[in-house]
Amino acid sequence: MKRCFLIIDMQAKIQTLQEAIATHLFDGATVAMEGFTHLIPFAAGHEIIRQGFKNLELVRMTPDMIYDQLIGAGCVRKLRFSWGGNPGVGSLYRLREAIEKGYPQPLEVDEHSHAAMAAAYAAGASGMPCAIFKGYYGADLEKVNPSIKTLACPFTGERLVAVPAIRPDVTIIHAQKASKKGDVSLEGIVGVQKEAVLAAKAAIVTVEEIVDELQPSSPNAVILPSWTVSAVVHVPGGAKPSYAHGYYSRDNKAYMDWEAISKDRERFNEWLQELKSTDYAV
């Protein structure tokens, strides 16, 4: 009997990409899709575009190509971020056009530094209402973003900074492996994914491989136990054109090619139509 329940539980956890996105996303949700250059959950982002969610409040340290696409597709109302460029290439033009011209819709920004975002995720995972750290010395961001506050250390009087914790409705990450039970392991540049998952109310993890048993390379590998994750989805290649350490490398050419697509509304719209007309194929 017990065994049977376990199987039912397992089946509920492992979903298709369409199911996982449809189950956990909703219009207006606060969504964090993390992966610091590495393991960016592109396939999941594309599925959000296909399902047409609106007015999302996206959170991500580096919006990268993935949020440029979601913003250009008209899914996003607000962005909390810390560095909005195409790494090593230049601008994210869909992001820029949303901020500079309100196209395809105005984008509210809640801008921070990397240190603040990283601390805010850790605070979210720790059940803290805010993150406290040292930063923003003489920086103008503090003057234009009301969610950056200073306080005095209660022990030394030293100036400290507080920013609200990040508590996403849904965090989505991509990882290398999950077990059939739904335990997840990731390695390489691990970014803020562990914090982002543990800070969220629900977490979707797309993975390269589902294996019978996880065999972590070390007792200190980054592991997210199944009970911290809402859905595991088998999506090989789901981080392309970013990369999955041990599986495939970063498609730097795709990032360079994105420049021309992102820069031109028409070319972007062609890209968008193409995306909407194709399903993710496993």
Binding site: S82, G85, A115, G135, G138, L141, G191, N252, Y255
Partner: protein, 254 residues
């Protein structure tokens, strides 16, 4: 041997790095300069990228701050919260490199917006790690091409703090780090003048006229009493840099 201005800037920046330095490396010219130093005079220099890779020795230059190459050749890779809290905020990094769209004579840097923040003419990528790199690295070197649009009297937005509008401001905020101490441009090297907190020219690259430096600076530039002529890149340095760039180009074209 002929060289272009980007090569000159990269070589000059690499020379100021020491074998004992622990560098927080940014993408682009800083990454080229740091790795050139490692391949020439500073084989044991510690390079750290904000993606969490510590003591990395990439064979090709990364296009992004988190290319797999960085992790594969690193001594260890830590999470991003750990990188910013223990390693950067903890004061473990000796040198940080910054660049930007605008810099002023006190080394304040703008990488956020041109124009008003809420109605920007041009929205730039933003600060990323820069505000805290500027605060916590023991010293900061800046690499930027010189032009009157980039070297301005007053930046539109202070993304990362240099010396504010004069000396002593960093200390008053509780910062014990030196802040920006050198700017390497395609025309010259500028260094902070202690008494004023202002950047003044201390070395001029070969063949560059003082007038050219002034024409490409948006404030009234001053020159040190004794101005050096920058040593030209040596054959060995240029060869190492070109090989690195060639390998990088091949790798990125896939």
């Amino acid at each position: 041997m002929q060289y272009n201005s980007t090569e000159l800037m990269t070589v000059v920046a690499s020379r100021i790095l020491k074998n004992s330095d622990v560098c927080f490396v940014g993408i682009g010219l800083p990454s080229a300069a740091c790795n050139l130093a490692r391949l020439t005079h500073a084989p044991d220099i510690t390079l750290i990228y904000e993606s969490g890779t510590i003591q990395t020795k990439p064979d090709v230059l990364p296009l992004s701050i988190g290319d797999g190459e960085l992790c594969e050749t690193a001594l260890t890779t830590v999470s991003v919260p750990e990188m910013f809290s223990y390693w950067l905020q903890g004061g473990r990094i000796t040198v940080g490199f910054l660049g930007g769209a605008q810099i002023d004579k006190f080394g304040n840097i703008n990488t956020t917006v041109v124009g008003d923040y809420h109605k920007p003419k041009v929205r730039l990528p933003g600060g990323g790690g820069a505000p805290e790199i500027a605060a916590f690295c023991h010293t900061i070197y800046v690499i930027m091409k010189q032009s009157p649009r980039a070297f301005v009297e007053k930046v539109d937005f202070i993304t990362s703090f240099g010396h504010g509008d004069g000396p002593g401001q960093r200390k008053a905020m509780g910062l014990n780090t030196s802040g920006p101490s050198k700017i390497i441009t395609d025309l010259c090297i500028m260094e902070t003048e202690e008494a004023t907190g202002e950047f003044i020219v201390t070395s001029i690259h070969p063949g560059v006229a003082r007038e050219t430096i002034q024409e490409n600076t948006g404030w009234k530039i001053r020159f040190a009493e004794e101005v050096a002529i920058t040593d030209v890149p040596e054959l060995e340095e240029l060869e190492a840099l070109r090989l690195l760039n060639e390998k990088t180009k091949m790798a990125h074209q896939g």
